[in-house]
Amino acid sequence: MIRVQNLSKYFGKIKAVDHLDFEVREGEILGLLGPNGAGKTTTMRILTGFLTPTQGTVEINGMNILKDSLKIRSILGYLPEDVPLYRDMTVESFLRFVFHLKGLKRRDKRKTIDEVTGLCQLGEVRKRLIGKLSKGYRQRVGLAQALLGKPKVLILDEPTSGLDPRQINEIRDLIKSLKGKQTILLSTHILPEVSAVSDRVIIINSGKLVAQGTPEELAERLRTAQEILVTVRGDFKIVKPVLHRVPGIFNVEKVGSQNTDTEIYKIFCDKVRDIRGHVARVLIDSGFELLELRSDNMSLEDIFLKLVTKEEEVPTADTAAVAT
């Protein structure tokens, strides 16, 4: 449904989006995850035709974003970040305005607007001015204008930002209820959000694709990296082969040193078993002085943070497994 190939966008010398490739299948909910400033909004703005790419192509429903911009926009619903709305209009008149601009069939007007206000629970504020509404309501008005006319593709930029937990759940439920009917691309910088609603996740950082997969896949793959920190008196070249004798370890790295002969190593191993005892035994049996041993377990959140902040520190074996 949405195919992004080799997409790049520069603002002056700043690379906002860097050779991005991904695809959103029909009826799927794809979560675009990344820290603030990762290029999520820029990517979405390109998809909606608000910005043009510096390089690369975007196809939506088989149409090219540059050539068929108007046609694409007529099958697209977009909720921009920060939900810009006309504050001096009432909810009802705003939705009517959007209805006309989207070029929908006039005779369905009443029904379409009723439907969307019902879906977004805006019934009681229909006659109120948008500028006087609370953040939660304004977010829902934003969502309502995107949903109006049941567009085939929905692009939602941080649909739950600034809401309270109850409202977040409501919006998530609403999005989940659209699954299968509409193709949805939503962005967020909160990890639980994507795992809660999306079928598949892509993680981007500094405009680059870092990882993609289903939330379970990602969690599983990321979780396989358990880390153990050991402080040993002994040279890296000698210690490393010794440690590799322990089953389950796939990488050992030197991360620092305390004295000339005391080094700190980081051990990456699978999460299936607890190998701390085994590591200690092997080291002592081989005649090394083991000064400290602790597990450096990362939560899913930590791993995400690590993935997007210091990508280069993630071991090569791990990135290879993740960035399929």
């Binding site: 926009r73 697209l76 001096d88």
Partner: protein
């Protein structure tokens, strides 16, 4: 077409809802009413004095020339102050509030947006100058003798001037998300084109012809005297079309920003 209409009606409502339209219209009417009544007072004062002098009174003063022509000129000066206020928010506000992003991700093209907004400002402008027609009806009612032809041509000149002002105002509004900047730019540019004719008097004929060609005042003068000439009509229409297209171009190139 329906898109233009939607944007037109949304913007028109917003003018009235935000009270800008009322403020601008009321101010314009107070000022133009003042100009009108003082022009008529002066006229009647001098007519009265003249009637005491038998040699001159035979011919009398010409109301059309003395009042009507100047009146439209004075109205235009007030327009120069009011139009920037009317147009400053058209696109600047959309850019500032981010609603521009919303608007342009609907199946609407930039041309429709610009035209809809231009027409909305033009509508408010029409509502603003329409009541001045009443002034003249009142003048006629109390026995003023003037030519309707000059009045109509004066109104035509006024409308053309207004349309040109608005088109530049909308363009200036597309340049910045700050309304004040767009108002200052509009006022400065229009005033410059207004007074540029003063310079023409000191320049060699060739140069002054050029300068006069760009002067917004010079092109309006004939209309206010009751003369409708095609070249002036064409000047205002080209001026308007040029700035409207410049606005569309400006909005279209915005998304290619690098």
């Amino acid at each position: 077409m329906s898109n233009i209409l939607s944007i037109f009606s949304k913007d028109t409502k917003s003018y009235f809802f935000s009270m800008i339209a009322y403020a601008v219209i009321a101010t314009f009417l107070v000022l133009s009413g003042f100009f009108f009544s003082s022009a008529v007072s002066y006229f009647s004062f001098y007519s009265f004095q003249l009637s005491a002098q038998p040699y001159l009174s035979a011919q009398g003063l010409n109301l059309t020339e003395a009042v009507i022509g100047n009146l439209f000129f004075n109205f235009s000066v007030v327009l120069l102050l009011m139009i920037p206020i009317l147009t400053m928010r058209t696109l600047a506000e959309e850019q500032k509030q981010g609603t521009f992003e919303l608007l342009l991700t609907y199946p609407v093209n930039e041309f429709q947006v610009v035209l809809g907004k231009f027409l909305a400002a033009f509508f408010v402008f029409t509502v603003m100058i329409a009541p001045t027609f009443l002034y003249l009806l009142i003048l006629r009612k109390v026995g003023g003798d003037f030519e309707w032809g000059v009045v109509l041509s004066g109104f035509l000149g006024q409308v053309l001037l207004g349309v040109a002002f608005i088109s530049f105002g909308v363009f200036a509004s597309s340049l910045s998300e700050n309304q004040l900047i767009s108002a200052v730019l509009t006022f400065g540019f229009l005033l410059l084109l207004w007074i540029i004719a003063w310079l023409a008097e000191f320049l060699p004929p060739d140069a002054s012809r050029w300068i006069n060609g760009f002067s917004l005042t010079r092109h309006a003068e004939d209309f206010f005297k009751g003369i409708i000439e095609l070249k002036h009509l064409v000047f205002y229409l080209l001026f308007t079309i040029f700035f409207l297209f410049l606005t569309v171009w400006r909005l279209q190139t915005r998304k290619w920003v690098r």
